[in-house]
Structure formats: structure tokens, C-alpha cells
């Protein structure tokens, strides 16, 4: 799908659904809640932009972000309780086919959750949603410089946490 061409919503869904789910889980760790936010945001986006092109990608993430924050606001107490339950039940954010990968995925999730929400959001958008810094800035509503430095800082911190965990495991 090039910038000028607009695909059907199914093309957009195939391309972004997993990423949007991971993004929504930064506020709504429970999978069902995050899926509700993705559904609300995606439908709202597609109704407003039925001929969306690649340049509208930040708007899609912004719409899902708003839906997730709305849901969080409405169900704050329940979400907090379920967050803890989801963490304890080992609910995964990434596909992991081997035990080692599952362990790494759990470590990264824990490390991610120790980051401030704003830094975690930038990491998800940059690493897994593969947005450019300019697109992230448009999604979050911050300047590119802020986003770039936030990302560098968050990545450094994440790397440090992961290294410490590796050290502790040895």
C-alpha cells in the first residue's frame, strides 16, 4: 500500500491490528479491554477516513490511543485490578514459540512496565509499530525533538534493566 493508494479496511487491519493491540495494552493490559479500544478506535478512524492513505497512519494510532484512554478513565479501578491478574497469569504481549522466547518476552514486558507511560508509548510506536519519529510526534502531539530524546532515554533504560535481569539470572 503506497502513500497515494488507499486500501480496504481489511488491508489496514491486517497491517496494524497486532501493533494496535500492543499499543492499547500500554494502558489496558487486559487483552479484552485492549481489543475493545482497538475496535472503537479503528471503527471511528475508518468512518472518518474511508479512503485513508499511509500518511493517515498517525491518526489511526491517535484514535486508538484516545479510545484506550477513555476506556481506562471509565474503568480505572477494574483495569488496575486486572492488570495485576494479567501479569500474574503470564498473559503475553508477544508471540513466543519457545520457552526461552517466552522468558525474554516476560522480561521485556516487566522492563517495559517499569518505564514511565510516555516513554513506553514511544518505544512501542517506534519499535513495533515502526513509525518514524515525525509520525510518533504527530500521534502523541509532541515535538520531534522531545520524542527523539524520550526514545533514546527509554531505550537506554530498557537496555539497562534487561542487562541487570540477565545478570541476576546468571
Amino acid at each position: 500500500m503506497t502513500d497515494s493508494e488507499s486500501g480496504s479496511w481489511r488491508d489496514w487491519y491486517r497491517q496494524h491490528a497486532s501493533r494496535l493491540l500492543l499499543y492499547a495494552r500500554q494502558w489496558l493490559p487486559e487483552r479484552a479491554d485492549a481489543e475493545d479500544a482497538v475496535q472503537t478506535g479503528f471503527v471511528k478512524f475508518w468512518r472518518n477516513k474511508p479512503n485513508a492513505t499511509e500518511s493517515d497512519t498517525p491518526l489511526l494510532y491517535t484514535t486508538v490511543r484516545c479510545a484506550a484512554l477513555d476506556l481506562l478513565k471509565r474503568n480505572a479501578r477494574r483495569v488496575r485490578r486486572e492488570d495485576q491478574l494479567a501479569l500474574e497469569s503470564g498473559d503475553v504481549w508477544w508471540d513466543a514459540d519457545t520457552l526461552t522466547h517466552q522468558e525474554i518476552a516476560c522480561d521485556i514486558r516487566r522492563a517495559m512496565e517499569s518505564l514511565p507511560a510516555a516513554q513506553r508509548e514511544v518505544i512501542v510506536l517506534r519499535v513495533w509499530a515502526e513509525l518514524s519519529f515525525a509520525e510518533i510526534a504527530a500521534t502523541v502531539g509532541e515535538s520531534i525533538n522531545t520524542i527523539t530524546s524520550r526514545y533514546r532515554y527509554a531505550l537506554e533504560k530498557l537496555k539497562k534493566i534487561m542487562t541487570e535481569e540477565d545478570y541476576e539470572r546468571i
Binding site: S6, S8, W9, R10, Y13, A17, S18, R19, L21, L22, R31, E35, V38, Q39, F42, V43, W46, R47, P50, N51, V92, W93, W94, D95, A96, H101, I104, A105, I108, I123, V127, W128, R152, L155, E156, L158, K159, M162
Partner: protein, 142 residues
């Protein structure tokens, strides 16, 4: 491990896919897909064009009543009414002298009364119409 290696390691993890029901829920919320809408509009447009073409063809092939020719026009009948003859007869002049008109322009004002006589082409009727002409002559003061 440098920054880009660490980034690549993170990118190696694929986010889990949403449940199968999510796509179904979105499909239910979005009534008609764009491609389906386009297909419907093309289908409808095609049928409307065919119907319009058919209607034009029927109209062209439909027998029409032949109009009978009307009575022939007499060659002696005048095609266009002839204009009446007009003559005019000046009856009186009056000189109102130099006056300031249009907020200060000096001009000499002359009035002429004319009687127009309109004669019918056959000469059997006459109509008289009085007319007044106002003549302004610019004047320069020295």
C-alpha cells in the same frame, strides 16, 4: 550490545495477534466495505445507462403523427406590416436663456414643441402626437 542491536532484538518479538472475533466485530460495525460500495455503484450505473439507452432507442423508433401541410400562404398577403409614415411639424420655439445646470455648468436652454403626425400606410387614418425637445447648448463665460 549497542543500541541498534538491542533495537533489532526487540523487533524480533512479534506482537500477538488479536482474537479472531475482533475482525468480525469491526466488520459488523463498518456496514459496507469500500470495494463492495464501488462494486454496487458501478453495477447500478451500468444498469441505469442501459435503461437510458433503451429509452432513447424506443423514442427514436416510435412512429410519430405526420402533420398535414396548412393552407398555402397567399402571395399577395403582406408578410410584414408596413410601418406608418411619420411627419412632424414644428409649432413653437422657446428660449429660456442661460441657466446653471448640474450644479453649476452654464448652458442655454431651448425648447421646441413638435407635432408628430403618424399616417397609416393606406392613408385612411392619422394620429397626432405632441413632442417637446429640450436642447442644451453649452455656454462659456468670458
Amino acid at each position: 550490545m549497542n543500541e541498534s542491536e538491542f533495537e533489532n532484538q526487540l523487533r524480533g518479538l512479534q506482537p500477538v495477534s488479536p482474537s479472531n472475533s475482533l475482525q468480525g466485530r469491526i466488520a459488523a460495525a463498518l456496514p459496507l466495505e469500500k470495494s463492495r460500495r464501488n462494486f454496487l455503484s458501478v453495477w447500478l450505473m451500468e444498469r441505469m445507462l442501459w435503461a437510458a439507452g433503451g429509452a432513447i432507442a424506443v423514442w427514436l423508433l416510435m412512429p410519430r403523427p405526420v402533420l398535414s401541410p396548412g393552407p398555402s400562404i397567399d402571395a399577395t398577403t403582406p408578410q410584414v406590416a408596413r410601418a406608418p409614415r411619420v411627419s412632424e411639424e414644428p409649432s413653437a420655439w422657446s428660449d429660456e436663456g442661460v441657466q446653471l445646470i448640474d450644479g453649476g455648468t452654464p448652458a442655454r436652454i431651448l425648447r421646441r414643441l413638435v407635432l408628430e403626425r403618424h399616417h397609416s400606410p393606406d392613408g385612411n387614418a392619422e394620429m397626432r402626437v405632441p413632442r417637446e425637445d429640450v436642447i442644451l447648448l453649452p455656454v462659456a463665460f468670458r
